[in-house]
């Protein structure tokens, strides 16, 4: 049970403020913001999502640069409140098409309408975008999506990828197309966040994939959908699961450690043919989340070397190789490498003919940063840097540098090889043929190479 809900901008302004129970004194938003801003407890510099000030519990999530906050005096379930906050953000996004400060400010009356129905007296009522439709009377005022910075994992489809209709993820569930007709379409995104740690000798220490099959449906009339996954998909490792009747040594099989499903998903035939059946509700939601620690081929290999070149100098060599098909291109790649704290200057030397690459030495945090606009599959890129130290190193520069970490996004690539074999929509008539988009994307979560 929550007492208040509010959304703060990055500067700490109230954009929306709703008091459901009147138990928490005024000024809670300011107390909260000050606390988050100047967090200094437990040696940490970042406020945890849940904290208590004078008997009031503040629970918050950050979405699109905004702070979604709930307060309560009761010993509630933190998961419930955090899930609820996240869901409120998602519902608002469903209605406004784009979630950011501007869209929220323009549509705050609509947001109040939503909040009235989502929570009553602090108790969650419904967060179903579809059910809420009948209670919402304000028309969303659209903001121009094109000039907004991309938000959320699905937003990556907006840039570059010409195959995709860019407006898809920014369309409101209630707004009509200019022609007054709604376009029948459905999006299924397989989004994977990968974490890999390489040892100094290039050996993979740990690897994990956290994946989501995300759906966003603009279909009218709630048709049933069948989503077929790899036939040889197996769930549960070490043969401990009842599902595990395949031999996992067969090479081609995809073995998930575990997964969970949205409540609309029927698993009746999942055990037999790996098909999910569901009637997708309106708006965006995760059909399935999964986790995989089975070994997979990492998309990038990183080689990093730091060598002393005199008492006050060292040379760094960074090399990345894209270990995937040339038909795929990774974009927005960042490589960072911390260098010894006594590094005073760094000069860079890019490879000959380098295009779309930038380098920087972050003086404050003492790291080298190398950004690449894109990397085509199979390509290899190298960066050399010369470091100048302000004091003599003690022969252990390697120990004081690293680890190298990398960020990237690879559209139309998935590391787990989990596939949507087909997406079937129950037909209402012969002419009914909605657009369906199945898209894959892989992102780095924690991609680290040690020195």
């Amino acid at each position: 049970m929550i007492s208040q809900f509010f959304v703060l901008s990055q500067r700490g302004d109230n954009i929306v403020f709703r008091d459901y129970r009147g138990e928490v004194p005024k000024g809670s938003a300011e107390i909260f913001f000050r606390k988050v801003k100047f967090w200094k407890e437990d040696e940490a510099e970042e406020a945890p999502p849940v904290f208590n000030v004078d008997g009031v519990n503040y629970i918050h999530v950050k979405v699109a640069g905004l702070l979604f906050v709930a307060t309560t005096r009761v010993n509630v379930s933190p998961s419930l409140v955090l899930e609820l906050l996240q869901r409120i953000a998602r519902v608002i996004k469903d209605y406004l098409g784009v979630l950011n400060e501007e869209s929220l400010r323009k549509n705050f009356v609509l947001v109040y309408e939503l909040l009235d129905e989502v929570i009553d007296f602090g108790y969650p009522q419904t967060t179903s975008t579809e059910v809420l439709k009948s209670y919402i009377f304000n028309e969303p005022i659209m903001v121009d999506a094109a000039r907004l910075p991309p938000l959320g994992p699905a937003a990556m489809f907006m840039q570059g990828a010409k195959r995709m209709p860019g407006t898809a993820v920014t369309k409101s569930v209630v707004a009509n197309e200019p022609g007054g007709r709604k376009r029948e379409e459905i999006f299924v995104d397989i989004i994977e966040k990968i974490s890999v740690t390489f040892s100094s000798s290039g050996y993979i220490l740990t690897s994990e994939i956290d994946g989501t099959i995300q759906m966003k449906s603009y279909l009218t009339g709630n048709p049933e959908i069948r989503l077929a996954l790899n036939e040889d998909l197996s769930i549960g490792r070490n043969g401990s699961s009842i599902y595990d009747y395949h031999s996992s040594s067969g090479g081609g099989t995809v073995v998930l450690d575990d997964c969970n499903f949205h409540e609309s998903v029927h698993l009746d035939s999942f055990d037999i043919d790996r098909t999910l059946t569901l009637i997708p509700p309106d708006g965006e939601f995760a059909v399935m989340n999964y986790r995989m620690t089975q070994e997979f081929k990492p998309p990038f290999r990183i080689n990093a070397l730091i060598e002393e070149a005199g008492p006050l100098k060292a040379e760094v060599l960074l090399k990345i190789r894209a270990d995937f098909s040339p038909s795929v291109t990774a974009n927005t790649i960042t490589v960072q490498m911390p260098v010894p704290s006594y590094t005073a200057r760094a000069s860079f030397e890019l490879e000959a003919g380098a295009v779309g690459q930038t380098t920087d030495f972050k003086e404050g945090s003492k790291r080298l940063e190398w950004c690449l606009k894109k990397i085509v599959g199979g390509a290899e890129h190298t960066l050399r840097a010369k470091l100048t130290f302000s004091q003599e190193s003690h022969g252990n520069t390697t120990k004081e540098a690293g680890p190298v970490n990398m960020n990237f996004t690879i559209p139309m690539y998935n590391a787990s090889r989990l596939q949507v074999r087909y997406l079937q929509i129950a037909k209402k008539s012969k002419t009914y043929n909605p657009y369906r988009w199945v898209r894959y994307v892989t992102q780095a979560n924690s991609y680290v190479a040690r020195l």
Binding site: M1, R11, G12, D13, N14, F17, G22, E23, K37, E43, A44, E46, P48, P49, V50, N52, G55, N57, V63, V74, N75, V76, S77, P78, S79, L82, E83, L84, L85, Q86, V109, E113, F121, Y123, P124, Q125, Y135, N138, T197, D210, T212, D257, N260, H262, E263, A286, M288, N289, Y290, R291, P338, K366, H394, N396, G402, P403, N405, N445, S446, V448
Partner: protein, 837 residues
């Protein structure tokens, strides 16, 4: 990261502060109030929007109240909603004006559109104006019977809102009874859920005042209601499912078959994508299986995968909440997670509060099979550029070393840290090496060789400096230049501001003096002189110097015996949290308690705690009272979870791995002396124990009373009596002490009383239930209660037992004074049978 905080409320174009804007708005509203001109509604919408946006930023627009109400006569639903929002916000501060709104809200409550009826009813109940409650009753009554589920849903929570404005009005109108029947009959799941929300909150708040409320709560958690809700669970929204699961977690099943039925039925909830549903389900599973060791362990195994998936799936905030729960489980049963250690490796992008939790988990689950990998990984973090995490990682390595038997390799790693020559790494490492030496003196040779090379000039942090000085004093015979280092430190006494360091300097000089008198004499003299002159900050330093000075003067041999006696190695460093506290946090699974790692009474006010949670009054009376939830289900908690986990370790023949968070006495060496004993003692001084010590002193002062011959019991007790802690506490406060007695426990009883649970179980066999217990050997404290068969008469007992003196101190409070004597006899005879075959 984010831009700096804005100056407090300076007028800016977007945030008008002035009254002129509000006056202007009022004027415009008044002009539009009666207008039926086309487009009037649109203009009103714009004006209303401005009013609401001012309200949002915190500008007081309450002065426009009457104008807003005047404009509210409209059929435009968007306008209506904005008006409702405005009225709900300001009615409380303008009770007189709020009366103006009653009329149109009441009219709207009878509208033909169910949505208008619902919205109006919701607003009407949200006014929070006490003298308007009379207008609420009729619309609420009608709302609960409305044909539209939307209206009933609103009405069900409306009852709760009414209760908060006027509890008497709500109860007198018999709304709770209506809600109860609605809950069991309404076809709409959200109506059912809202009825349950309201009933739970109302009865929980009433429970401290009325017996009836306690019975109603029991009824809510009874089999028919619980099974009714369970059968409907898939109709509920995910949020309402959490509510139902919470109710189920409070239910006490009749037998094991029921437990398995419930668990099988809820099994698929563990695959839900909503983490709140999964955690609520896990709570049910954990609580149901408390008394079944094997199954309880299977539950741990079963919930691992779903929890890990949730950690990876959601936003960082969501994974944090889940990780906190995983942390709790790992700390309770580290050995069950020892093969999953890789999941707790820190990821580069994680915020430090997540990394911290993971480091603690890694520390806890380290055992023979995985220590090498874990320590290797931790050593990588020690090089991290995130300094707090680097420090934390070094501490983790040290803790692992302290809990392992084979510390060989780890000591090497720690010593390597010293070679990194980073100040903070050196500082953390020194503190650890000191602790390590206190536990494993046999390593002194290797450690001293490395520590001797550290220049004290490179050590600045007081804690680290104190550690270094301690080692210099303790091992001065092995460190050639120890007296000289100490001497130079003493010379710079004035630059050393931390009392901690000065105290250690004094002691180290003394120790060094006993071993190498000629070299140290001068330095000791200087230290004592400087200490005696130290009256500026802490008197501790002055007092210690004076004490040492007199001691040395009196007799050097005695002084040596006092300051530097032969030491036993410390076997177990004290745990920071008592096991009672940990148990209570576990009982409060899936609440904020888990995130804060504190039981709820430490961070919530009284009125926001359910009656099923202990308030600090009772908690401070008893030594770490058990949580209420396990009190109502005393039968279920026969097995303390600690026992469960210990038996697990035996099963795995894993006894050698030190078990974090277990009872210290299980591991401490028979005679842990001097420092060890001091430290163990000091740490177990959990706040409320001081009260206990006094009890104990008083207990000792009372002369031996011969145990009275147990009178034949003439009283029959209800075998299934139940009492919730709120009521217990109320009764305890109301009743005077009927009987107060002192008796001796049988020797067998003393032997049998190793944990409070053993006695609790025994007394249950005599129909005497325990509501709270606590303490550690030799002092235990219990609160018992019993009920006279076939009546509502309760007996309450406070029972303090000291096992070293075998004394029992009883305070009995009886609701029926005449029955107190027979009850006391019965209680004593039951108690004296404890431990007898």
């Amino acid at each position: 990261m984010a831009p700096p905080i804005p100056a407090p409320k300076t007028p800016s174009p977007s945030q008008p502060s002035g009254k002129s804007e509000v006056t202007d708005l009022k004027l415009q509203l008044r002009q539009l109030a009666g207008s039926r001109a086309p487009g009037a509604d649109d203009s009103k919408r714009d004006l209303f929007k401005r009013v609401i946006s001012y309200m949002t930023v915190g500008i007081d627009v309450s002065s426009a109240f009457s104008e807003m109400v005047m404009c509210s006569a409209t059929s435009d639903i968007v306008l209506k909603k904005m008006c409702y929002l405005y009225v709900g916000n300001y009615a409380r501060c303008n009770p007189d004006l709020a009366l103006l709104t009653i009329n149109f809200l009441q009219k709207d409550c009878r509208d033909e559109d169910p949505m208008i009826r619902g919205l109006a009813l919701r607003s009407l109940c949200s006014l929070r104006v006490p003298n308007l409650v009379e207008y609420l009753v009729a619309p609420l009554g009608a709302g609960l019977k409305d044909g539209s589920p939307y209206v009933r849903m609103v009405a069900a929570l409306g009852v709760l809102k009414l209760y908060h404005i006027s509890a008497a009005m709500c109860l007198d109108s018999d709304f709770p009874a209506t809600l109860k029947s609605l809950m069991l009959s309404d076809p709409d799941a959200q109506v059912v859920a809202n009825c349950l929300h309201s009933l739970q909150e109302i009865w929980n708040l009433e429970a401290s005042k009325s017996e009836e409320a306690s019975r109603e709560i029991e009824a809510l958690y009874s089999k028919p209601v619980v099974f009714f809700l369970l059968n409907k669970i898939k109709d509920f929204s995910e949020w309402a499912q959490c509510l139902v699961l919470d109710v189920v977690s409070k239910y006490i099943p009749g037998d094991n078959n029921e437990i398995f039925d419930i668990m099988n039925f809820l099994e698929d909830r563990l695959q839900h994508a909503n983490g709140a549903v999964v955690l609520a389900t896990i709570k049910v599973f954990l609580h149901l299986t408390m008394s079944m060791t094997d199954v309880h362990q299977q539950v741990y195994e079963r919930i691992k995968a779903p929890l890990l998936t949730l950690v990876g799936a959601g936003s960082p905030e969501q994974s944090y909440a889940v990780l906190c729960h995983l942390h709790l489980l790992v700390m309770r049963a580290p050995m069950l997670f020892s093969s999953d250690y890789k999941h707790f490796y820190c990821q580069f992008s994680e915020p430090s509060f997540v990394k911290k939790l993971k480091l603690e988990m890694l520390t806890a689950i380290a055992n023979e099979s995985n220590t090498y990998e874990i320590v290797t990984e931790l050593c990588e973090y020690a090089r991290n550029i995130d300094i707090p995490i680097a420090r934390e990682s070094i501490r983790a390595v040290g803790k692992i070393a302290l809990q392992q038997y084979d510390v060989n390799a780890i000591v090497d790693r720690l010593l390597q840290f010293l070679e990194m020559e980073k100040d903070y790494v050196t500082a953390e490492t020194l503190v650890l090496v000191k602790d390590l030496l206190r536990k494993y003196p046999q390593w002194s040779h290797d450690c001293i060789a490395v520590v001797g090379n550290i220049s004290s000039k490179n050590v600045q942090e007081p804690k680290a400096k104190a550690a270094l000085i301690w080692m210099l004093g303790e091992y001065s015979q092995d460190m050639l230049d120890a007296p000289y280092i100490l001497e130079s430190l003493i010379e710079n006494w004035d630059d050393e501001h931390a009392p901690e360091v000065r105290l250690h300097l004094l002691t180290a000089a003394m120790k060094c003096f006993f071993k190498r008198p000629p070299e140290t004499q001068k330095a000791l003299g200087a230290a004592l002189a400087a200490g005696l002159a130290d009256t500026h900050q802490a008197w501790d330093v002055h007092d210690r110097a004076l004490f040492y000075y007199r001691l040395v003067q009196y007799d050097v041999t005695v002084a040596e015996h006092v300051v530097n006696p032969p030491k036993q190695a410390v076997s177990v460093f004290a745990d920071t949290q008592s096991s009672e506290i940990k148990d209570r946090i576990f009982d409060e699974f899936n609440t904020l308690s888990v995130v804060y790692q504190k039981p709820s009474y430490m961070f919530t006010d009284k009125e926001h705690r359910g009656p099923f949670e202990f308030s600090e009054d009772l908690a401070s009376l008893s030594v770490g009272a058990q949580s209420a939830e396990n009190v109502i289900s005393a039968q279920r908690y026969q097995e303390n979870d600690n026992d469960l986990l210990l038996s697990t370790s035996e099963k795995e023949e894993n006894g050698s791995s030190a078990h974090y968070g277990s009872v210290p006495s299980a591991y401490s060496a028979p005679q842990a002396l001097t420092e060890a004993a001091l430290i163990d003692h000091g740490s177990s001084a959990f706040t409320s124990q001081s009260a206990f010590a006094i009890d104990d002193l008083l207990g000792l002062g009372v002369p031996d009373a011969p145990a009275p011959a147990p009178a034949p019991p003439t009283l029959n007790l209800n075998t299934k009596s139940a009492l919730d802690p709120g009521t217990f506490q109320r009764k305890w406060g109301q009743l005077g002490i009927t009987l107060s007695q002192e008796l001796s426990l049988s020797p067998q009883g003393v032997v049998g009383l190793t944990t409070p649970q053993s006695l609790i179980r025994h007394m249950q066999g005599h129909s005497i239930q325990c509501i709270a217990s606590g303490g550690q050997s030799p002092n235990y404290k219990f609160f018992f209660f019993a009920q006279k068969e076939g009546s509502s008469v309760f007996f309450l007992v406070e029972c303090i037992i000291n096992t070293s003196s075998a004394k029992v101190h009883l305070k009995i409070k009886a609701e029926d004074g005449s029955a107190a004597e027979p009850f006391s006899a019965l209680f004593q005879s039951a108690l004296l049978k404890f431990g007898l075959p």
